[in-house]
């Protein structure tokens, strides 16, 4: 019997391609974002009207100094994508984490304590989710004013419900398990049971949601930049670049496509990272 258990305990799953690819992309992006002021070939704000709409370096008529071409004002697309990553990742990390903390805390309380706590939180979530999210965000930014902090506040205020709902359901399911009854038989207090028994079992769910939320935060930031409600209009953001690129899509596709690809890969990578981490580090084989 001991040998059988030995064998089961010895099972260690490999990190998997999913984790390597998503983690690799995000690590490279984080490095690029941190080092952007040093590795970007040009100032992202520097305009050169004589070098406008230059194609990427491998196409005819390109200037090799501008690897991914320039936009209609002659700004370097590569430098702007790199600097845009700073904004995108900052928003993803800060907004994602704050959303997770607030939403998961409310979800845990509602799911574990039930009763009037649950009624109050659940009805609030229902009402909250009836607001159209993008309009809600635009309204909030209109009230708070543009700026990075406003974007983060808008994401947290809108998206905490996503965590609250899912974590509430998970906390309810875990609360019905006998190990919770067992903690009570052992004389453990309610709050302590929530912190030491329920929370660790909800962490994988919260982790997966967190990485998804980071991807959503990147998209929301891009949407708000797209409608010019992010930080100042010149500042390099992926959404802002996509908005500008849209105007010249027939003359200069690269202004639109490169930030879009960066956005797409980043959102995809965040989602896959969550799944990959859960597969790799969850001690419970499912």
């Amino acid at each position: 019997m001991a040998d059988a258990a030995e064998g089961r305990g010895a099972v260690r799953r490999r990190a998997g391609l999913r984790l390597w690819l998503s983690g690799g992309w995000l690590a490279a992006l984080a490095a690029a974002a941190l080092l952007a002021p040093w590795i970007a070939p040009h100032d992202p704000l520097a305009q050169d009207l004589f070098a406008g709409r230059l194609p990427p370096a491998w196409q005819a008529g390109a200037d090799p100094a501008y690897l991914l071409g320039t936009d209609s004002l002659g700004r370097d697309v590569l430098s702007r994508v790199l600097h845009g990553a700073r904004v995108a990742l900052f928003v993803a990390l800060v907004a994602g984490t704050l959303t997770a903390l607030i939403g998961a805390a409310l979800g845990l309380l509602a799911g574990f304590y039930r009763g009037w706590v649950d009624v109050a939180i659940s009805r609030l979530v229902d009402i909250w989710m009836a607001f159209p999210p993008v309009l809600f965000a635009i309204l909030l930014i209109a009230v708070l004013g543009t700026g990075l902090a406003s974007i983060i506040v808008a994401i947290v205020v809108i998206d905490w419900t996503r965590f609250a709902r899912v974590v509430r359901a998970e906390a309810m399911a875990q609360g019905a398990m006998d190990y919770v009854a067992s903690a009570r038989v052992a004389g453990m207090g309610r709050l302590r049971t929530l912190a030491t028994e329920i929370l660790p079992n909800c962490l994988p769910t919260i982790g997966v949601l967190l990485t998804l939320e980071m991807g959503i935060a990147v998209i929301v930031e891009a949407i708000l930049s797209f409608v010019n409600l992010s930080i100042s209009t010149d500042a390099p953001t992926w959404g802002g670049m996509i908005a500008e690129g849209r105007l010249s899509i027939h003359q200069a596709w690269w202004v639109l496509v490169f930030p879009l690809v960066a956005l797409f890969l980043t959102v995809l990578a965040f989602g896959q990272l969550g799944e990959g981490l859960k597969d790799r580090f969850d001690p419970v084989l499912r």
Partner: protein, 264 residues
Amino acid sequence: MADLYSVTGLHVSLADMTRKPLLGAAPRIGILHGLTFAIGRGEVVGIVGGSGSGKSTLGRALVRLLEPTAGRILFDGQDIAHLPEPALRPLRRRFQMIFQDPLSSLNPRQTVGTILRAPLALHGLPLARAAEALDAVGLPRAHLARYPHELSGGQRQRVGIARAIALRPDFILADEIVSGLDVSSQAQVLALLETLVRDFSLTLAFISHDLSVVRRLCTRIIVLHQGRIVEDAPAARLFDAPKAEYTRMLLSAIPLPDPDQPWD
């Protein structure tokens, strides 16, 4: 005071949420209808009955996982039936429970060591008792570092038993603890319980739907049917001369091995 538990007029009813009107309280369903019995120190009492007879509800009321609607539960002379949780907490060390499904009752994200030490730490007892409890249930101490999913079903149930005895309680409630195990693991766990009852001079209530399991272990048997006690007798007398009709039905439901039965 000879009796560890003395239960009088125990009623339990639960709200029927499926028939709750939009406004106002849900109607209540009676589960236990006025049970009166006592459990003496050192007794091993079997609580048997069919599904829905209220045996698990009775068990959960004894360890105060639920609060009875009416009646008294004297534990060592103190009425615990309506004690609020904070007042109950220091007493909880003295009555423990082993659960039916060890996979559900052991936190999957904690090692056996963490699972065994948490109750000890709560009651300020030496943590070394975790390892001693594993010795007592016949598991190697190396299992302290294992997670529940790394153990077999029988081993998991032993961890559940170790957690209960580590606190050195006066009373243990075992709720259908062998029904999820295969027959050989069942026999091992029952043998282990017999030893532990002797070594730790435990008082044990053993809930089961299976009279043949109870027969081996218990000195006295309480038969429940639809929330009422239909028979309460020493084990030997109950098996030899059952008084209640329902007990006779349960007894006749025990499958007996028939060596002459052909295989086809």
